[in-house]
């Protein structure tokens, strides 16, 4: 456990010791800001019945952030260590494979959450300039951040897997981007196909990411969705662990 904290600290520090971390945060802040400005303009022209949080996630910008930021955050994790050879020095100490994977994933997750912090400023502005107490409701806000957290877990775990597969960061980013887009397309399909009784369609329904996030932003937390996200995340992390271990397979 002690070793895990040491690793986590170093992984997290690595994000902030390179320019990459700041570039990602700046880009995301820009997108969030633009998205928020658009939202405010729309709100000014006509009244909406939806909660503010839902409006925010209805914009495609949220998905752009998740789908693009996750590969960029995670591409470094394993690929860079493999390319520079530090993977060898890391894996020949007595640290366990599980600790390495967990530390890398959690560091990426913490960075991802830090990246979303500017949304708090948006919330503050909304709370400050609307006199309605109902504008921001604890339930919808909690749902929104849970949605951010869960979708982040999923896409970051995909990124971890992609990074563990190669020693080239660009390839890692491409793989996780491709996997992310596949999920995205599945979500589109799930939305456009009318879910009749057949088993395949039922399965596809699980991948309706948009609807699920929509639910979250409305403050509806469906346990099936939570389980779906966490189990997929764990599945991809498990695969990552296997890839890391595979080095030792005969």
């Amino acid at each position: 456990m002690k070793i895990f904290w040491t690793l986590l600290r170093r992984e997290l520090a690595a994000f902030f010791l390179s320019l990459m971390g700041y570039v990602i945060i700046a880009a995301v802040t820009l997108i969030i800001g633009a998205s928020f400005a658009m939202l405010i303009r729309n709100l000014g022209s006509a009244p909406f019945l939806m909660p503010v949080t839902e409006l925010f996630f209805n914009s495609f910008l949220f998905w752009i952030i998740v789908i693009l930021a996750a590969p960029i955050i995670t591409m470094r994790l394993f690929a860079q260590e493999k390319a520079s050879g530090t993977y060898e020095t890391l894996m020949t100490t007595s640290v366990g494979d599980t600790a390495v994977v967990a530390a890398k994933f959690i560091a990426a997750l913490i960075f991802y959450l830090i990246m979303w912090l500017p949304t708090l400023a948006c919330l503050f502005i909304v709370a400050h300039f609307t006199n309605q107490r109902s504008a921001l409701d604890a339930g919808t806000l909690g749902g929104m951040y849970l949605g951010i957290f869960l979708s982040g877990c999923l896409f970051l775990s995909i990124g971890c897997l992609a990074s563990s597969l190669t020693r080239n960061q660009v390839v890692a980013a491409m793989i996780s981007l491709a996997l992310g887009i596949i999920l995205f397309i599945a979500a589109f399909l799930a939305q456009s196909v009318i879910t009749a009784g057949s088993a395949q369609l039922h399965l596809l329904n699980f991948f309706s990411l948009f609807k699920q996030i929509d639910d979250f932003t409305r403050g509806v937390v469906d346990t099936r969705t939570v389980i779906f996200y966490t189990s997929l995340t764990l599945f991809f992390l498990f695969l990552t662990l296997r890839v890391v271990e595979s080095r030792r397979w005969k």
């Binding site: 040491t6 170093r10 530090t86 993977y87 060898e88 020095t89 020949t92 100490t93 030792r248 005969k250």
Partner: protein, 315 residues
């Protein structure tokens, strides 16, 4: 400390290490000597549990590198080829991170980091960023990292590559000073370096160990084929006659050299050192002797020498 039996590593398409066996006793400094692609790094990676062997076993301090890898990893300090480090970290920070990673407690790691930094001469750069250090310092950081948890066995893959002569000397001295407490396995392709540092050498070529002995014994083994060169001012006929009659001369060639000098190349019998005999001869006859050398064997000669029987068999 190390027992390797029939170790083989096959990659898709080629065999990097084929059926090597050797053992290293506690407190020895053993050099793994061979050209690039001889299987040195592969052997070291297997010993440091980075990857498994295809077949055969390797034990470090009595633990199997495959089945009890964590016990092994706790007892080794490994510095891979090209000495990879995190360039964005500072020296002390990096060493502290590594010490903690290797399971040292907070207080203990602080103490050890201080000790190894002093030992490796890093104290004055402790707050510098690793990426901005010179290659010599970076190499020392790698060494300090290998030492920080006081491992029983230190494995260093090409520790002096790419350093300038001054840095090489200091790194060598450092490695030599480790012998008191640790067992050291180093790889190199520079023969004099191995001669200087190691108590025993293993010569690898094409994934096999061709010779394993002390540097002195290997030299003696090689001396059999060494040649003596002499430049003497005398008539060629006289030289040929006189040198041919010397005891211990197997073959003698005389060719015209610069001015009155003749170049003589002599092959001694059974590694016999002819140099003093030639000097005495020149003095007796009143010849002018201006050069007298014994050809030193480069590593390449040794490879050629030890690989020759195999090649002949194949033909």
């Amino acid at each position: 400390m190390i027992e390797v039996t029939n170790l083989t590593k096959r990659y898709a398409g080629h065999t990097a290490v084929s059926g090597i066996s050797f053992s290293v006793a506690r407190g020895e400094i053993v050099g793994l000597l061979g050209p690039n692609g001889a299987g040195k790094s592969t052997t070291m990676r297997i010993l440091s549990c980075f990857m498994p062997a295809t077949s055969g076993t390797a034990r470090v301090a009595g633990y199997d590198v495959f089945h009890e890898s964590r016990e092994v990893r706790r007892r080794i300090g490994f510095m891979p080829e090209n000495n990879p480090l995190y360039p964005e970290m500072r020296v002390r920070e990096y060493l502290k991170f590594r010490a903690r990673l290797k399971g040292l407690g907070w207080k203990n790691s602080r103490r050890r980091v201080g000790t190894v930094m002093e030992q490796c001469g890093l104290t004055e750069v402790s707050h510098r960023i690793i990426g901005q250090l010179s290659k010599g310092y970076r190499q020392r950081v790698g060494l300090a990292d290998a030492l920080v948890h006081e491992p029983d066995l230190i494995i260093l893959d090409e520790p002096t590559i790419g350093l300038d002569p001054h840095q090489i000397r200091s790194v060598r001295q450092l490695i030599k000073s480790l012998a008191e407490k640790h067992t050291v396995l180093i790889s190199t392709h520079i023969l004099p370096e191995a001669e200087m540092m190691c108590s025993r050498m293993l010569i690898m070529y094409g994934g096999k160990i061709l010779a394993a002995d002390t540097p002195d014994n290997l030299q003696r083994l090689m001396a059999g084929s060494s040649q003596i060169f002499a430049e003497i001012a005398a008539s060629p006929e006289e030289l040929r006659e006189a040198l041919g009659q010397l005891p211990g001369v197997e073959q003698c060639e005389v060719s015209a050299g610069e001015g009155a000098f003749q170049r003589c190349a002599l092959t001694p019998r059974d590694g016999f050192d002819l140099r003093s005999v030639i000097f005495t001869l020149a003095r007796e006859r009143g010849w002018t002797l201006r050069e007298l050398t014994r050809s030193r064997h480069s590593l390449e000669d040794i490879y050629v020498q030890v690989t020759r029987p195999d090649e002949e068999e194949e033909i």
